[in-house]
């Protein structure tokens, strides 16, 4: 049975995230106040035969550990 996995990939803390900043700055203009700490990352969803491969896939391919953190969520 293949396993469904969701990988959340975020910019590493401390690295300038202009995308998050741009979103944060655009929100008040649209009437949304009180929003902070916006960060934009990537989401990879996939089905794998062998869930033990996921960690390696993240390290090697899905994320760049120098600039990104990742979190693997498996389930259903």
């Amino acid at each position: 049975m293949p396993v469904k996995a969701t990988v959340l990939i975020r910019p590493k803390e401390g690295i300038l995230d202009p995308q998050g900043q741009a979103v944060e700055e655009a929100l008040p203009a649209l009437g949304f106040e009180g929003v902070s700490h916006v960060h934009v990352g990537r989401l990879v969803e996939l089905e794998v035969e062998d869930a033990s491969q996921l960690e390696a896939m993240c390290e090697k391919l899905l994320a760049n550990p120098l600039i990104e953190d990742y979190e693997i969520v498996t389930g259903s």
Binding site: I15, P18, A22, L62, N64, L66, I67
Partner: protein
Amino acid sequence: MATRFGIPQFPGSCDEVDTLLAANRVGDAELLWHKDKDLKGVDVVIVPGGFSYGDYLRVGAIPPFSPVMQAVAEHAKAGGLVLGICNGFQVLTEAGLLPGALLPNVNLAFTCRQVDLTVENTETPFTHECTPGETLSIPAKHTTGRYFAPPEILDDIESNGQVLLRYAEGHNFNGSLNDIAGVCNAARNVFGLMPHPEHAVDPLTGSDDGLKLFHSLASAAPMALGSGDMT
């Protein structure tokens, strides 16, 4: 004998023919197919610009796994010369052949602009035909060109003289740390830069300052370690 250049071609490469034309001005160049592990005995590998594999997932993330890049990594480890331009620079950092990483431009947009670069170190196979402090006018065009390295690495490459090119004042549109436009490895045989020297080889198309990097490579290649048939 003329220096032989090999240019890996991935699906989605864009500037491979431009690079071929530029390298042919100083030596003999040919394209290398991404599915082949054979570097055909070239002296210098130039990983070209473009959007290899559509830039999908993350720029430069997929090509390091291709057969041709495995061979390029071996070539580099043996001391062979490797230049990465734009997407090629991104690929080389992803492949671990160069320090640091490239992040989205601070203006968050693809930007195509002629920029001035200052040559920081001329004692390398890539820049020895330049004079120290010289300004080169070369076009840059990318969405993901903000050079980043964590502080320890940044200190290292700065103190080692690995920063070969910097954006001149007012020209760093992507927000690169320390205005870094191009970086080489500690062994000085692998070099990557965001601007496109292959698009600055003919005054008719704007500038021929980029030709200096190609001339440097052509005359340095015979001296480089492990040039010739490495595979």
